[in-house]
């Protein structure tokens, strides 16, 4: 039973290769290998469907386990082109392959390409070597992704950048520019609280959400502080203990001091487990500190 499937990234990359780049003749020629291909294995076949020890499942960025990437996915694209477009593609792929400092190299295992004469060539991005490729690669390019990146949009961007013939500098600038569109995982508490939001979100949307939430929190905190200041102003000058002592001294009525103590304790229970006076002092200190900072004498 074949278990090999494509990935959204491979399909997206193939569509973009056909439609968005300057290879007018390009037509997809395959992603997932057939049952007969399974016997010999390779990157068109998933890890699960490959023969044990096949060349496509043993390199450090391919083997799973120990890697945690999918075991049921293909990791290669075949794209057929006219000879003119094959040569153009060859030059662009070779430029990246031949530059050890090119950051796009890290996503690919190998590309089989043709320069328009003689045999097709296999450019190995891991070892940096070039070797013979079978004759069918004179009419289709074969691109292998390292299996760990089969679901990584960065691999798609790197491949399309390479196939566009972009310089390293242009690629890196593009990466800086597009990083805001990257999808990032939501925090577990977010997905647990609002499961309908899904597991991930665009980076720019997430930042906007955090900003909005922080601003709302700041506004609510300001309102709370204003309320506390109003309460403090209302009770300013009133000392519950002193009033109780005075009431007791004056003997206004029996048990007045005890009644006021109970009242203070009751208020404290409703506010916090900390005694009311301690709360009042703490809040007053916070407000004084806030006023000091607002006045510009922040010690930090």
């Amino acid at each position: 039973m074949m278990a090999t499937r494509s990935t959204p990234e491979l399909v997206h990359a193939a569509r973009a290769w056909e439609d968005d780049l300057d290879y007018p003749s390009a037509v997809l020629s395959g992603i997932v290998g057939d049952a007969r291909h399974r016997a010999s294995g390779g990157y068109h076949i998933s890890i699960e469907d490959n023969p044990p020890g096949n060349y496509s499942v043993v390199r450090v960025d391919d083997a799973a386990p120990p890697g945690k990437w999918p075991r049921d996915r293909a990791a290669a694209i075949d794209m057929s082109m006219s000879p003119k477009d094959m040569v153009k593609c060859y030059k662009r792929v070779r430029a990246v392959w031949s530059n050890p400092a090119d950051p796009r190299r890290r996503f690919f295992n190998a590309f089989n390409v043709w320069d328009g004469s003689g045999d097709a060539v296999r450019l190995d991005f891991v070892t940096g070597t070039a070797s013979y490729a079978t004759p069918d690669h004179k009419w289709h390019n074969h691109g292998e992704w390292r299996r760990r990146y089969v679901n990584d949009p960065a691999a798609t961007r790197a491949m399309l950048s390479m196939l566009r013939g972009e310089s390293v500098a242009a690629y890196q600038k593009e990466e800086d520019d597009v990083s805001w569109s990257e999808r990032i995982k939501r925090r577990p508490w977010v997905t647990q609280t609002w499961p309908h939001l899904g597991e991930d979100a665009r980076a720019d949307a997430t930042l906007a959400g955090i900003y909005g939430f922080s601003r709302l929190s700041a506004e609510r905190a300001a309102e709370l502080l204003a309320g506390q200041r109003a309460i403090l102003a209302a009770i300013a000058g009133q000392d519950v203990a002193e009033a109780a002592e005075r009431a007791a001294r004056e003997g206004a009525r029996a048990g007045a001091a005890e009644a006021l103590d109970e009242l203070a304790e009751g208020l404290a229970d409703r506010l916090t487990e900390v005694p009311a006076e301690q709360v009042r002092q703490a809040v007053a200190e916070v407000l004084r500190e806030r006023d000091r900072r607002a006045a510009g004498d922040d010690p930090q």
Partner: protein
């Protein structure tokens, strides 16, 4: 994917007399995307015979399905985009 490469001369259609290849047993779909035309070449066991010399419009969904299946190969027309 070249373990079962079928090779032979093409008969009829735009590739008449030229060598052809297919990795799959039934033949190949020849596609000229810029002109939105395609032809089917059937593998006879020794050569490729065009099914109909008149071109068909390209159905992208069918073309992609052909690329995903293992019966017909998908080959870009060598003159496409010239």
């Amino acid at each position: 994917m070249a373990e079962h490469l079928h090779e032979g001369v093409c008969r009829g259609g735009p590739l008449d007399g030229q060598p052809g290849q297919s990795r799959f047993p039934k033949g190949f779909l020849l596609v000229d995307r810029p002109a939105d035309r395609c032809w089917i070449y059937e593998w006879t066991g020794s050569e490729f015979q065009v099914r109909d010399p008149q071109p068909m419009p390209v159905d992208t969904a069918k073309r992609w399905r052909a690329a995903e299946e293992a019966t017909y190969d998908v080959v870009a027309a060598p003159w496409a985009g010239e």
